[in-house]
Symmetry: C2
Subunit: 316 residues, 2 copies
């Protein structure tokens, strides 16, 4: 959510109606998992306090993947993660009409961990053009290591089309630190995930409309649009299950193995610079994405509450 909420703007009419590859498919009413989005008031009444891990509006393969990733992260990091301490009205939030709902979970790392915090979120919004679902899992490391972050994000605007970002975003200037590129990107052959996925005819590279957001990603980022067209939602499920899930799981394994545990020697000044860079990225990303996008879906009060809660972790 932190990285790509600026995309909400792209899903507002009229842009939505003119963007061919992301156009919604209003006439199609399909399978239980997707059709939830049009019958949410009965299935997920407003008095039920949903959690991040419920991921209520996602098609099953996406939900299973996110649950597996969270579970793998929690199991691997174990006691390095503190329990969530977010206020209840930030763990789950909605707008006045209930047409937009969201959930957030943040778990800080312990003092002796390289993990700064893990952030999971989902947003579901009934827009005039159809339901929008944004689901994110991001892991931030602190400045005891300069290793990359982990990020996965699904932005789905119709049952047959979604944007996927899957990346280990770097925390150093790759031009000044070519050995960083070698360690985390060349030696891990990270580009193979992108290469494999773009071979599928349904997949095209995706370029975020924000140039700053593009700069945040690594040069090996899986940043793609999956558009199944006449293949329908079944083909989408198949791609998530057969192609995206293995890539995402393997990338998480690389992150857990090489980044969380992959400490690199740093001078004190390098740590100070790293902290400054991390906070700057988080601040700019919040500005571009959440400050611009969240009030449109939830109104200013709810949006501010959620943004302030995230700032306590990301700008600290």
């Amino acid at each position: 959510m932190v990285v790509l909420l600026n995309l909400i703007q792209q899903f507002q009419p009229p842009l939505f109606s003119t963007t061919k590859s992301l156009s919604s498919n209003k006439s199609r009413v399909v399978r239980t998992s997707i059709s939830c989005s049009s019958s949410s008031s009965s299935m997920y009444p407003q008095n039920k306090r949903l959690r991040f891990i419920d991921l209520p509006y996602l098609p099953t393969p996406q939900r299973n993947l996110m649950v597996d990733l969270v579970s793998k992260m929690e199991t691997s990091l174990g006691s390095q993660l503190l329990p969530s301490s977010l206020p209840l009205d930030v763990q789950y939030f909605e707008n006045e009409s209930g047409s937009s709902q969201g959930a957030l979970d943040i778990r800080s790392g312990t003092q002796d961990s390289t993990v700064d915090f893990i952030l999971g979120s989902w947003i579901h919004s009934k827009l005039p053009s159809g339901a929008l679902n944004i689901t994110t899992l991001t892991a931030y490391l602190n400045n005891t290591t300069d290793a990359p972050r982990f990020l996965i994000e699904f932005i789905q605007s119709s049952p047959t089309s979604l944007i996927l970002i899957l990346d280990l975003p770097p925390r150093k200037d790759l031009i000044l630190y070519p050995d960083y590129l070698t360690t985390f990107y060349n030696d891990t052959q990270l580009d193979r995930f992108r290469q494999q996925l773009v071979k599928l005819p349904e997949i095209q590279p995706y370029f975020s409309s924000s140039l700053y957001t593009r700069s945040v990603f690594s040069t090996t980022a899986v940043s793609i649009v999956i558009d199944c067209g006449t293949g329908g939602p079944d083909r989408m499920d198949e791609i998530i299950l057969d192609d995206v899930s293995p890539a995402a799981k393997e990338m998480l394994d690389i992150w857990l193995d090489k980044c969380v545990c992959g400490g690199r020697d740093m001078e004190e000044q390098e740590r100070v610079d790293l902290k400054k860079r991390d906070v700057l990225v988080n601040k700019k990303t919040l500005e571009i994405d959440l400050v611009a996008g969240l009030p449109r879906l939830f109104g200013p009060d709810v949006a501010n509450r959620v943004i302030e809660a995230i700032q306590k972790y990301s700008l600290a």
Copy 2:
């Protein structure tokens, strides 16, 4: 040439014969401009000392575009450019058998100019899979400004397929300097060139096999494969003339207007850091591209002579 000679490796068999989109079309013998490459010994005898600006093996629209860009650069920069002082055997070079030929031109900027040097080059090589032509024009600025460089490069391996890089590569870490991104990329709407070009069905994004090379480019870089398939070389000419040429010329205008003349205040330490970064980029790029690729085409002696000549400018 400085940025993309690593591509030569991709045009060597067996990779060449397995890369569908870049495969040569041996059976096709077409138009004067391309067919030059198979009759070069008569049209361009080895005792004729070719110059960079001759661009002898390029199809007319590519040649005209490069000549126009060089001409515009030379006219606009005028007395800011010193005459070329390269040795004759670096201005034009070939391998023993004459199957690979190349030309290089470098013009330094005067002491009071922001221009460090301008480098133009072409390479023509008869490979088993067909003729390879690489044509480059790059403009480097010195550390009196941190404004981006200018780069255009054509890598053509068949009459119907080519790779184009067109970019203003940044000289700062865009994450640490978001105002740099705003000034040179957002305010100039630089992304529109990429957006326009990838709308054509013959054009796909191109990802260099070198992650470092990818890191050198801006997030708005036109990095594309143009594959005309059954449209043939006439369609390629049309795309170069109607779509690529206007984009390249407009991008050069932006560079001349906003970068050469677009000084930004810098502290002394910032200038020192900038110089360090520029030299590191140049050194890494030479290593990746020329040191690995040039000896394959020209043998070690010629390759070393050319590389050493470039180093005198790019690592100074």
